[in-house]
C-alpha cells in the first residue's frame, strides 16, 4: 500500500469556448503523500482554479489520470463522484459557504446527511466533536450571521472535518480574513496537519504558503516549481509575534 493520497499524471484540461480551445492545464504531474500540507500557488490564469476543481472531483481531466486514494476519478460517474466528494474530501471555501439561517451545528452535520450509513445520533455526536476540534464550543446554536468571519471559517473547517476525509481541500480559505484571523486559521490547519490530516491549500499569498510543508507553483497551466519548505514557519509563533491590536 502506497501512502500516496493524490497521484496526478500528465493531467490536461481543455475547455472549448466557441471555436477556440482554451488549454487551462497543459500536463501537470505531482503526488501528495499522506500527512503532507501542500500549498498550490499561482497567479490568476495559471490554472489554479481548474486544478482545484479537478482535485475536488468537481471536474474531470480531459487527458491524464488522477488517482484519489487509489481510485481513478476519470472512470467514475457523476453520482460516484458525489459520493467520493462526500466521503474523501473536505472542502473549505474562501466565502465559507455556510447555509444562512442555519445553526453552526446543522451546517456541520450537512455532509453527514448525504451519507445514508450514518444515524442521526452519530451525526450529532460527530458534528459536536468536529466543532470542539475547531474550538467552537458553546457556539453550536449560532447562525452564520451571529459569527465573525474567522468563526464562520472555523465552522466551515469543522464541516470539512466531520466526514473524516482523506484530504482537506482549501480554496483561498484565508482570502477574506485579516492577517490575525488568517494566522489563527493557519494555526488550526497546522494543528490538524500535525494530527495526521492531509491538506491541500490553494492560495496566492506567499506568506500563507510559508506555513505549509511543500509548495507547488503553477504558471500557465504547468508546474513551475515544486519545492519542500525547509524553513517552515509556525503559525502560532507568527500569531504571537503580531503586534497587539488596539481594539477601539
Amino acid at each position: 500500500m502506497s501512502n500516496k493520497i493524490l497521484e496526478i499524471k500528465e493531467v490536461k484540461r481543455e475547455f472549448i469556448m466557441g471555436t477556440e480551445t482554451v488549454r487551462a492545464l497543459k500536463g501537470i504531474s505531482f503526488d501528495v503523500n499522506a500527512g503532507e500540507f501542500v500549498t498550490i500557488m499561482g497567479s490568476s490564469g495559471s490554472g489554479k482554479t481548474t486544478l482545484l476543481n479537478m482535485l475536488g472531483c468537481l471536474d474531470k481531466p480531459t487527458e491524464g489520470t488522477y488517482m484519489l486514494d487509489n481510485v481513478n476519478v476519470k472512470e467514475l460517474s457523476k453520482d460516484e463522484l458525489a459520493k467520493l466528494r462526500n466521503t474523501k474530501i473536505g472542502f473549505v471555501f474562501q466565502a465559507y459557504n455556510l447555509l444562512p439561517r442555519t445553526t453552526a451545528l446543522e451546517n456541520v452535520e450537512l455532509p453527514l446527511l448525504y451519507n445514508p450509513l450514518i444515524s442521526s445520533q452519530e451525526r450529532r455526536e460527530r458534528a459536536i466533536a468536529a466543532l470542539q476540534a475547531v474550538k467552537l464550543d458553546g457556539r453550536f446554536d449560532h447562525t452564520p450571521n451571529q459569527l465573525s468571519g474567522g468563526q464562520q471559517q472555523r465552522v466551515a473547517i469543522a464541516r470539512a472535518l466531520v466526514n473524516e476525509p482523506v484530504m482537506i481541500l482549501a480554496d483561498e480559505a484565508t482570502g477574506n480574513l485579516d492577517t490575525r484571523t488568517s494566522y489563527e486559521i493557519m494555526a488550526l490547519m497546522q494543528d490538524l496537519n500535525a494530527n495526521g490530516k492531509t491538506i491541500v491549500f490553494v492560495t496566492h499569498e506567499p506568506d500563507i504558503a510559508g506555513f505549509s510543508t511543500r509548495t507547488v507553483m503553477l504558471r500557465d497551466g504547468k508546474v513551475q516549481k515544486d519545492t519542500e519548505n525547509t524553513n517552515r514557519r509556525s503559525a502560532k509563533e507568527a500569531l504571537a509575534s503580531l503586534p497587539e491590536t488596539d481594539d477601539y
Binding site: 468537481l58 453520482d79 458525489a82 459557504n97 448525504y114
Partner: protein, 406 residues
C-alpha cells in the same frame, strides 16, 4: 439523503419563508376548497333528486298512450285512448320481467264530506299500485282484488284530502264520502309523502279500484296510464323490451309503424334530471379547478425563484456530496409540501363550507369521499408536475458554476 431528512429539510425551508409559503399555497387552498364545495353541492342536489325519484319507486315503468297518426296535430298523450285491460292482461302474461302492474284511470272532481268539500284527483288503480309507487297505508286497509272485480265503492284518502274533508280531526275510517255523485266508503288513509320535487302535493289524492272509476265515474274502458314495476332495477330495460313487444301485438302495430304508446322508466327520468345537475356541477368544478392550475403555476414560479436564490446552496450541497437526485428530491418535496399543505387546508375549508352552506343557503350538500381524495391527489400531482421543472433545473446545475454564482 434519507427521505425523512429531505422532508425535515423541506419543512425547515418553508418555515424560513412562512409568508411566502402561505401566499404560494393560497391558490391551491382556494382551488381545492372550491372544488370540494362545488362537488358537494352538485352531489347534494343529485342525491335529493334521486331520493325523491326513488321514493316513487326506482324500478317503476310508466306506459302512456301516444298519437301515431302521422301528420295530424299532436295532442296530449293522456287524452288518447289506446290502453285497455287487454294490455294489462297481455303484460301480465308475456312480460316476465314485470313484477307488478296496475292500470291507472284518473278523474278530477270535487270530493265532499258533509259540509266540507275539496277539489282533488281520484285515481282508479289495482292494489299493486301502492307498492309500485311506494305508497303505504297509515290507517286501515288496502282494497282487495275482490273489490276490484266487484267495482266496490271503497277508497283510500291522501292526507291533504283527509285534512280538508275532516277538518275536525275525526277518523275518516268507515265514513262515506262522495266523489262527484258517487258515494265511497273510506277504508284507509295513506301515509303522507309531502311535496314532490316538482312542487306537486303528493298527498292530494283519492285511490279507488280502477273498475269503480271506469264504470261509475268515467264510463270508459280506457286507462290514462299503466304503471308497472320491473322485477329488479337492473331488469328495467328487459321489462321495457318485453312490454313493447307485448303491446305491439295487442295493438296490432306492424313493423315500421309508429307505436301508439310510450314507455318510460324511472331510470330514464333520473338520468335526464341528473344530467342537468351533473352538467352544472361539472361546469362549476371546471371553473374551480382552473384556480388549482393557477395555484400550481404559482408554485412553479416560486420554486424557480427559490432555485435561483439558493444556487450557491445547491453548489455547496453538491460539493459536499449531494447527488443530482438528492437536490431534485429536495426541491420536489418542497413543492409537494407546499401543495399538499395547501391541499389539507383547502380540504378543511371545503368541508366547512359544505357544512355551513345548507344552513345558510338551504342548498343540500353531500361531501363525497371521492371529491376529497380526487382533489387531494390532484394537488399532490400539481405539486409534482409544477415542482419538477424547477427541481430538475436545480439538480442539473454545474457545481463549479453554482458555487461561484453571485
Amino acid at each position: 439523503m434519507k427521505i425523512i431528512n429531505l422532508i425535515l429539510l423541506a419543512i425547515k425551508a418553508l418555515q424560513r419563508n412562512k409568508l411566502r409559503a402561505l401566499l404560494t399555497m393560497l391558490g391551491i387552498i382556494i382551488g381545492v376548497a372550491s372544488v370540494i364545495t362545488m362537488m358537494s353541492i352538485g352531489e347534494g342536489s343529485k342525491q335529493s333528486i334521486n331520493n325523491s325519484l326513488s321514493s316513487m319507486g326506482s324500478n317503476m315503468i310508466t306506459i302512456m298512450p301516444q298519437s301515431n297518426e302521422p301528420g295530424g296535430a299532436r295532442i296530449m298523450g293522456s287524452s288518447f285512448k289506446t290502453l285497455t285491460i287487454k294490455d294489462v292482461e297481455a303484460l301480465q302474461k308475456n312480460a316476465p320481467h314485470i313484477a307488478m302492474i296496475s292500470p291507472l284511470a284518473s278523474s278530477s272532481g270535487q270530493s265532499i264530506n258533509a259540509a266540507a268539500n275539496w277539489p282533488t284527483t281520484i285515481q282508479g288503480v289495482s292494489p299493486e299500485y301502492l307498492e309500485i309507487r311506494k305508497l303505504s297505508v297509515q290507517d286501515g286497509i288496502i282494497f282487495s282484488e275482490q273489490d276490484v272485480k266487484s267495482s266496490a265503492k271503497v277508497c283510500l284518502l291522501g292526507k291533504t284530502v283527509v285534512d280538508n274533508l275532516f277538518p275536525n280531526g275525526e277518523s275518516p275510517l268507515g265514513k262515506v264520502i262522495r266523489f262527484g255523485k258517487i258515494p265511497l266508503q273510506v277504508i284507509g288513509v295513506l301515509t303522507a309523502k309531502g311535496t314532490s320535487n316538482f312542487g306537486q302535493d303528493q298527498d292530494d289524492i283519492i285511490i279507488a279500484p280502477y273498475t269503480t272509476i271506469q264504470k261509475r265515474v268515467l264510463s270508459s274502458i280506457y286507462f290514462n296510464q299503466i304503471y308497472a314495476s320491473a322485477t329488479k332495477e337492473d331488469d328495467s330495460d328487459e321489462a321495457v323490451d318485453e312490454a313493447t313487444v307485448a303491446l305491439k301485438a295487442t295493438h296490432k302495430i306492424r313493423e315500421g309503424e309508429e307505436n301508439d304508446f310510450q314507455i318510460r322508466t324511472q331510470a330514464e327520468l333520473m338520468t335526464m334530471l341528473n344530467s342537468t345537475s351533473s352538467m352544472m356541477t361539472a361546469l362549476l368544478t371546471a371553473v374551480a379547478s382552473i384556480s388549482l392550475v393557477i395555484g400550481g403555476i404559482g408554485i412553479m414560479n416560486i420554486m424557480y425563484v427559490s432555485v435561483t436564490e439558493r444556487t450557491r446552496e445547491i453548489g455547496l450541497r453538491m460539493s459536499i456530496g449531494a447527488r443530482g437526485i438528492d437536490i431534485l428530491l429536495q426541491f420536489l418535496i418542497e413543492a409537494v409540501m407546499i401543495s399538499v399543505t395547501g391541499g389539507v387546508i383547502g380540504v378543511v375549508l371545503g368541508i366547512s363550507a359544505a357544512i355551513i352552506i345548507p344552513s345558510m343557503l338551504n342548498w343540500p350538500t353531500v361531501i363525497s369521499e371521492s371529491s376529497i381524495v380526487i382533489s387531494f391527489l390532484v394537488c399532490a400531482v400539481t405539486g409534482i408536475f409544477f415542482g419538477y421543472y424547477p427541481a430538475l433545473k436545480a439538480s442539473g446545475l454545474d457545481p463549479i458554476e453554482a458555487l461561484r454564482y453571485e
